[in-house]
């Protein structure tokens, strides 16, 4: 039952935190991920560079928090069929990736994460974790209904879904069709269903 150590010194100003996050999100949209520099973020937030580096290790972590912190309080989909549940899940994934900030940030972000082993480990635990949690529940229900096997590989499916959306959005770009989520959901659900 170790309580957090008593805070010493001047506490960090939450307004700085928020100003940095807003400035980052705005810059990523305006100039893109590559051209977004810590210095420019700090200047725009009216903040010293140290104040940024004190909270984030670098551009990747900062942009990740600025762009991909969805509270994700939406209920886990429960439409009664695996296809329907996957479609809802994919819809939200597509929506997140389609955001101006999301589209601008994702490719560079993944590249920076992949290049740094320390950050790489966080992709599963932070970036994909919310989706995985939901997917596990969806799979459980589908297994109970007898739609899929109990040992259906969640990670493989998750990589496939995320990878498909990423390739489609980031690399083909330009407003994915509204049917994308449905098509993908249909294909994948059929691919893992029993029979």
């Amino acid at each position: 039952m170790s309580s957090s150590p008593p805070p010493r010194g001047r506490p960090r100003d939450p307004r700085s935190h928020e100003a940095i996050i807003s400035a980052t999100a705005a810059l990523v949209v305006e100039v893109g991920y590559a051209a977004t520099s810590i210095g420019a973020v700090a200047a725009r937030a009216g903040v010293g560079k140290d104040t940024v580096y004190r909270r984030w290790s670098g551009k990747a972590e900062l942009v990740f928090e600025a762009v991909f912190t969805t509270t994700d309080d939406a209920p886990i989909p429960d439409t009664g069929t695996l296809t329907g549940d996957l479609a809802v899940l994919l819809e939200s994934l597509v929506d997140e990736f389609r955001t101006p900030a999301g589209t601008a940030a994702l490719p560079g972000l993944l590249a920076d994460f992949a290049a740094d082993p320390a950050l790489k480990a966080r992709i599963r635990t932070h970036f994909l974790a919310p989706s995985k949690d939901r997917l596990v529940v969806i799979f459980d229900r589908a297994a109970q209904r007898g739609e899929i096997a109990a040992d259906t590989p969640v990670n493989l499916v998750l990589d496939t879904l995320a990878g498909a959306v990423f390739f489609h959005i980031a690399l083909v770009g330009e407003s994915p069709t509204p049917q994308l989520a449905g098509q993908l959901a249909a294909m994948i659900s059929r691919g893992i269903q029993i029979r």
Copy 2:
């Protein structure tokens, strides 16, 4: 009827071209994509920077040519079943992405391509084109066998396959299981088969 323009002045030295490509491939493996700079490539190749810029527009194009120019002269798989054909296709895709150079280069490369509209257009036409050509043939044969519908969306499947492999290799990484290609092939082929 296009006659080649009359060459004037000193012709380009083909050894420079090869030296640059080798130096690039080596550097990408050794220091990663982000830390690979045109200047370092030129120095390592014993070449002036202009000689690099004269042939490639920038790092992305150079690395792409250095890392992903598989002659791809392997015959198009024809195992008799869609699952088998896809498995062979995916095997070669995994092999390409699993290369040290491939793993090191791919995320950064996609990011740079995605950030530049001019380059972005080439992803489909250059990066995915060979795979697409093969996939089209595979689909044709499967459609003739009655396995899949004639209007199965090739691009969607291709994005899904490539995206799944990319996410698995580049972001989760650490030596994909040998079963990966087979698992994916089974899932996707079932997903698009009739019935």
Copy 3:
């Protein structure tokens, strides 16, 4: 008849004062004047930065007090001749400048003092004052003996003596010869003696 204002609040801890002075002197010797920072001094003294700034206006004043606070309780030399008196005076001046801390601090200290008009005024009143007081007495006695004129310019001679020692120690450096004080004393005393 200014009575000191009644002290309110927590009194300053004299141990902090001393710890800061010692830390400063040690740091100046170890890393030099330029690399001595207020932050490093405070950390080494186990003290907050404000505790330093509350007592000294900046690095120059702090280092000056830490390095050049000779109590100077030695008796004013009275050897019977101007040359002898000057030699003794110069000896102590050389000794002060030759200290590890003195050598390390002096050039940077003079630069910082010279750059700030407020500090500049203190060079004469604080830095050179003790020597000047002694020189005045020495000159008085020499004038009474008839060795020099009564209006011999004290400041000019003092600047010359201090400047000569400073240039020799700080800029040419490397352990001044033991004869330095004597040679200088002889030259200058002859230079101002009558006839």
Copy 4:
């Protein structure tokens, strides 16, 4: 008879050199030595920082060249007496130190030189060398006239003269009296004359 190696690559642009020197001299006068930064110099000269660092190791070397490169083509004084010669020599020394740039730069410059062993060695060879050459000739003539001994210590006298002027200008400042050079010359020459 080693000839200089044949120059390769683009030669350095002499206009950059001159622009940097002018910008440096102007900045030193306007904001002082301490507040003169390489970045500000480069910006003012319309030049990249690398272009500055390519030619000078740092601020000290740059400011030294910008401020103290007197062509010194004035003839060596020959007034017929040691006192007169010294007065002329000192006059030029005072003039050099009294320059706005000189006054602003000298204390900080000496501090930076003194702090760096590599630069320290250049003080005698570059900073004081011209004056020393002239002083040697002056002393030779004076010795031939029988005014001074042949082994009069040139370096000691030179340090004394330079130190006296430096202390007077840099630390007391504010326009030294026109008599300064004459007074000093008289004092020192009497101090080293025979008898």
